[in-house]
Amino acid sequence: MHTDRRTFIKGIGGTLALPFLESNLIAGATTPTRFLVVANPFGMHPEHFFPKDFGKDFTMSRTLKSLEWLKDRISILSHTDHNMVSGHGREIAFLSGVLPADAQAFPEKNMSVDQAVARHTGAHVRYPSLNVGLGSGVRMSWTANGVENALISDPQRLYDHLFLNLTRKQKKARRDMLTRNESILDAVGDQLSAVARQGSKADAGRLDQYQTAIRELENTLAGRQHWIGQDKPSFDISHHYEGAATIHNEYHAFFDMISFAFETDMTRVATIAFPTNLSYTDVSGVTRSYHGTTHNGKMEDVTDELVAIESFQIEQLSRCLKRLDSIPEPNAEGSLLDHTVVLFGSGMGYGGTHSNRNLPVFVAGGGFDHLGHVDTRNESGENMALCNLFVTLMQRFGIERDEFNLSTGAFDLRYG
């Protein structure tokens, strides 16, 4: 049931945001490192995305202009990819390098890097990861079971999910419901064993998925029992929906809620996806559809619209990063941004050519010794496997591994 916007604002107006760290509730918390992934489905118009020159002293490109302030804390990677065939449908492998169809060949299926990190950081926070999309999304977050993580794509739902506190009665109802669900899982688990006993080998794989689902749900139910007792931080979003519903408001609402969730340590991993079907006609100069402008036939006016859309996406990200940078990290040096690894990119290189080579990718913040604009090709001129970067990012979180899916090594990006 949809609540209308008025109820939405009424329900949350007037609260003063005084962030406190949720995880302080758990003893022994240390300074967190966070992971923010932002992705789009069509890549970037390459001539306008990639800077013309390399090195730390590069000149910011047209699309990335709004990140000028972050120039010494960004690494833009030219010439990385997942070695994928051209065409749509590869963007879903952005964070893993593995298509769902090929997932069976990998022990962790097509698990995406955000989930690999979330498994590591998730135990400390209320939500192991948040996967959101604006309206709809890009399929990119997958579990080690090869199952897609459902996106939250409605701002109201995201708000409720993150910030709505339960009344005492609701808490009781919620607890009762969790208990009831536990009983159901128990009964169903019994039926499953009976079925599995009689089943053939062919059944085994699909029943395994079912078995895992039961076990994981049991675990989350137990975890949720703990968090039901804790009040959530409060967040004032009333100004986000004043006036007309524009694309700006939409972007602000999602980015602000996610950065607030970071500030209060409700989660340490978030992915934000800009979907294909969002209308950008509120952005000055844009009249066509997002997808339509990628197939611009090199016509200048249409290409300009595409670059305007892409620049807008980056401006919105920049606004969010500025906010993170304005908040000092409690109990540590630097800003929240210096403790947040930001990954922007797409699993598609550029929609106009359907190329999945030379993916538009950059890493910002996270306390790295950043490199500016890097040509990642090796001596024989081959592109670098993007999974190499993912290995480096995982290591930043203290995950001790030196390979991930298609990696051939690690990308040399140091920190600390």
Binding site: N83, M84, I184, Q191, G199, R206, T212, K298, D301, T353
Partner: protein
């Protein structure tokens, strides 16, 4: 590997052996001969010799054109090399191999080679132990909703949108029944639990009998809610005593009613009429004079649409079971009134001056003088601007005078639907008796002794705290999220039950009815004739409507039709009249007609007719159809259209937004109609971006495909399947030329700048030549040329494979080749008639799994 992905074979044409490259070609041949001698040299049969003579030059160890070496075939088919045998057979049958310009087989030799390959394949498959193992899969969301509905004996899952929270199903080439693709996670499980609870809450009620109330809502109390983004527009009631659907993008809502306070029956009485039909010209308004004026009643997400009479107030009376929280809404479902300006409705107001000036100038003068005198007059844009005419709009539309809603009421208490599930006096004591029949329906097999014990224990324990009825509901939840309900085709299910279940999911996407289970149990569906009768009866009685809607939709991947929608600026009509909906309906109507008439499958390709309405006629350039939205059979006389190959749905789904792609269309035709699966381009291929600023035809852009030997090996096979459609633009409309919008000025760097010059046109070349030498000049010849026996068999085989994919949740495998051949033979015996072919599939071991 599945049969449908096995067709990796492709053949290079430019061979250095033949054009006399610098290398000593003889050596290559000898080497290859040595490596194959043990396999081919010693055989007495003539066919291996034929293959050496006609194939080896290109398919030897050294060259391996199309990544195929003759040596792959070995002596005889094995599990590993079967796909190569099948590919070879297909290429020889279709006469695409050997390529006509390389090496020629006499018809007798070809026949001999086909016989040889076929007999080897068949002999091999006889040696294989043939077992079809059931492939369990999760129910998709559609099947889940239908099954919950039928297990709980309801008319629908409820108007309280209980399935809203389910995670969307991923599709596999359009199919939502594909087991590999239907994943299962804790999210799924949790959402199922929630969805089932919501359905049960609207069905089984444990509290007091809710009180009924009657609410009278006069027109003045109906509120309009805009359906577009422009929310909060002030109300503009223009007439007393009538709610007027002046803007089709608004919904009528009832704050006095709010939402259904409790589950129960509600009587909804609506006084309404249609008005102002046929005043504006259809070209201006987009509303066809022959169309009914309609009103849609939305109860949650369930929509019913009614035709209204003209200028005669009628009472629509509905009695419906509504779930708690259901919202009621009325809408005008028309796709009209978007034909002016950018499609915004407001520009429609200017139709009145246009109309009056043409037909009633005195009325026009009269209104102009009233507007001139009005203080609100907009003088900036001239008197005829839409701003001035909002009060005088006369488009065809519904009007609502009043609405009365009464409820909730019950024919009995507890409600009948509850008694049907729990009995008159439900208690946790009797849980086993109550739950057994429900589980028996849900699990699609008899429930074993002791199987329900754990659930019964849970119910009896929970009854102590939550009461008997709520505890029994929990028991039903457990039954409906158990693997035996959520997973189809489990090996635990006895064969007969499984067949009944599969047939039911194929035709109706839901659990089997008791009659069907009994029929199968009694062995009355064991023969082809019995199966055929059952299926024909299902089609006749509406018992397979779900199949008629879902299968063609999945087969033609129609979910993709607007993935690359035609550009809204260039193809306005397509968007303004929501033509993609008509296109999808055309496919469904054609398919349904084929089933009703039991037509031969090849007619899908050869038909000179289709089912079109005025919107499609306008895209297809056809004049002589009635001015309305009804799809009617229409015979095309130009040889260009009719059947699947001329349908907008296919032509649009395979085009980009501004241009067409012969490759996409070719691959679509091959994959979905011919059952040929071309290899995707290698990962290192760089695809050039088409540059529309140059006056190039797509054929010139794609010339690279045939110049580069690496590309040519596949594209010589692929491209001829696509060029024929070049005369169809991205919406499927006919065009004789490409229109290049920009002038060709260049800047100082030699880059082209789009200018203001006149558009240029470029002649379209829709000709091509298949590798077997068949040539065509355009779509008309293409359509004639491809109607060969070989292609007919390919098409029917492809249909059979698609149907098996839909029915089994998995694509057939190579090993199934002979079984599919048998279905094909049965189909041929019945002149390839569609109902018989579907029956042959169901009667086959591939479906029965016995």
């Amino acid at each position: 590997m599945s049969l449908t992905s096995a067709r990796g074979l492709s053949i290079f044409v430019m061979d250095s052996l033949l054009i006399g490259g610098g290398n000593p070609p003889r050596v290559v041949v000898i080497l290859a001969l040595v490596s194959c001698a043990g396999l081919w040299g010693s055989r007495a049969s003539a066919s291996p010799a034929l293959m050496q003579e006609h194939c080896l030059a290109c398919h030897n160890e050294e060259k391996a054109k199309g990544k195929f070496e003759l040596g792959f075939l070995g002596d005889t088919p094995t599990e590993e090399n079967l796909e190569h045998w099948l590919d070879s057979l297909d290429y020889v049958v279709s006469e695409e191999m050997p390529p006509e310009d390389e090496s020629e087989l006499t018809p007798g030799q070809r026949e001999e080679l086909i016989d040889f390959l076929e007999s080897k394949v068949k002999a091999f498959e006889k040696t294989m132990e043939f077992t079809v193992t059931p492939k369990p899969r999760r129910l998709n969301n559609r099947e889940f909703a239908n099954s919950v509905r039928d297990v709980l004996l309801l008319e629908n899952v409820g108007t309280n949108v209980p399935m809203d929270n389910l995670i969307g199903d991923a599709l596999h080439h359009g199919f939502d029944t594909h087991g590999e693709t239907l994943s299962f996670s804790r999210f799924h499980l949790e959402q199922y639990i929630e969805a089932v609870r919501k359905v049960l809450d609207a069905t089984i009620m444990s509290g007091e009998r809710p009180k009924s109330r009657r609410i009278q809502i006069p027109a003045e109390r109906i509120v309009r809610q805009s359906l577009n983004q422009n929310v909060g527009r002030p109300d503009r009631h223009l007439k007393e005593g009538v709610f007027d659907f002046l803007d089709p993008r608004l919904a009528a809502q009832f704050p006095d009613f709010g939402e259904a306070p409790a589950a129960g029956y509600y009587k909804i009485n609506i006084k309404a009429t249609g008005t102002d039909r046929g005043i504006y010209d259809a070209d201006d308004s987009g509303f066809y004079h022959g169309d009914p004026i309609q009103l849609s009643v939305h109860l949650g997400d369930q929509v019913t649409t009614y035709d209204l009479p003209d200028d005669e107030v009628i009472e629509l009376e509905l009695t419906e079971w509504l779930g708690e929280g259901t919202v009621i809404e009325l809408r005008n479902p028309t796709d009209a009134f978007t034909m002016r300006g950018n499609g915004n409705f407001k520009f429609q107001y200017a139709l009145t001056p246009t109309h009056l000036k043409k037909y009633d100038s005195s009325r026009y003068e009269e209104l102009v003088s009233i507007i001139e005198a009005s203080p609100d007059k907009n003088s900036r844009k001239g008197i005829d601007t839409w701003h001035n005419w909002t009060k005088y709009w006369m488009g065809a539309r519904p009007q609502v005078f009043s609405v009365e809603i009464e409820g909730p009421f019950y024919h009995a208490w507890p409600p009948k639907r509850q008694v049907a599930l729990l009995g008159v006096d439900p208690s946790a004591e009797k849980a086993i008796e109550i739950l057994r029949p429900i589980a028996n329906r849900a699990w699609r097999r008899p429930v074993q002794d002791g199987e329900l014990q754990k659930i019964v224990d849970m119910v009896q324990l929970e009854a102590e705290t939550m009461g008997d009825i709520e505890a029994l509901k929990e028991g039903i939840v457990a039954i409906l999220v158990a693997p035996s309900f959520l997973m189809t085709d489990l090996a635990e299910v006895p064969a007969g039950n499984r067949f009944a279940s599969k047939l039911s999911y194929l035709l109706r996407s839901t659990t089997p009815r008791q009659e069907l289970r009994e029929k199968v149990g009694a062995g009355r569906l064991a023969s082809f004739d019995a199966v055929r009768e059952e299926i024909a009866e299902a089609f006749e009685s509406g018992g397979a409507d779900e199949f008629l809607n879902e299968f063609p939709f999945a087969w033609l991947e129609l979910n993709d039709i607007n993935f690359m929608a035609p550009d809204p600026e260039h193809y306005r009509f397509y968007h303004k009249k929501r033509v993609s909906e008509d296109m999808v309906n055309e496919v469904l109507a054609f398919f349904e007609n084929a089933v009703r008439e039991n037509l031969p499958l090849p007619e899908f390709l050869s038909a000179d007719y289709s089912f079109i309405n005025a919107d499609l006629a306008s895209i297809y350039g056809v004049k002589d159809v009635p001015e309305d939205s009804v799809l009617r059979k229409y015979q095309f006389t130009d040889g260009r259209r009719g059947g699947l190959l001329g349908m907008g749905a296919f032509l649009t789904a395979t085009a980009d937004s501004l241009s067409t792609s012969p490759i996409h269309r070719a691959v679509f035709v091959m994959e979905n109609f011919m059952g040929i699966h071309p290899t995707p381009p290698p990962p290192d291929v760089i695809i050039t971006e088409p540059d529309v600023r140059n006056a190039t035809t797509i054929k010139e852009v794609l010339a690279a495909h045939t110049e580069d030997a690496n590309c040519a090996s596949c594209h010589e096979t692929i491209d001829p399947w696509g060029y024929a459609f070049e005369n169809f633009d991205p919406t499927g409309a006919w065009r004789d030329v490409y229109v290049v919008p920009a002038s060709l000025e260049t800047d100082e760097e030699g880059e082209l700048i789009p200018g203001e010059g006149k558009p240029t046109t470029v002649e379209i070349d829709a000709s091509a030549r298949f590798r077997n030498g068949i040539e065509y000049q355009g779509i008309v010849e293409f359509r004639r040329q491809i109607l060969t026996e070989g292609n007919r068999d390919r098409f029917v085989r492809c249909f059979i494979e698609k149907l098996l994919t839909y029915a089994n949740g998995a694509e057939p495998e190579e090993i199934d080749f002979v079984a599919i051949d048998r279905i094909l033979e049965k189909s041929a015996e019945c002149n390839y008639r569609i109902v018989d072919t579907i029956s042959a599939v169901v009667d086959s071991e591939l479906f029965r799994g016995e």
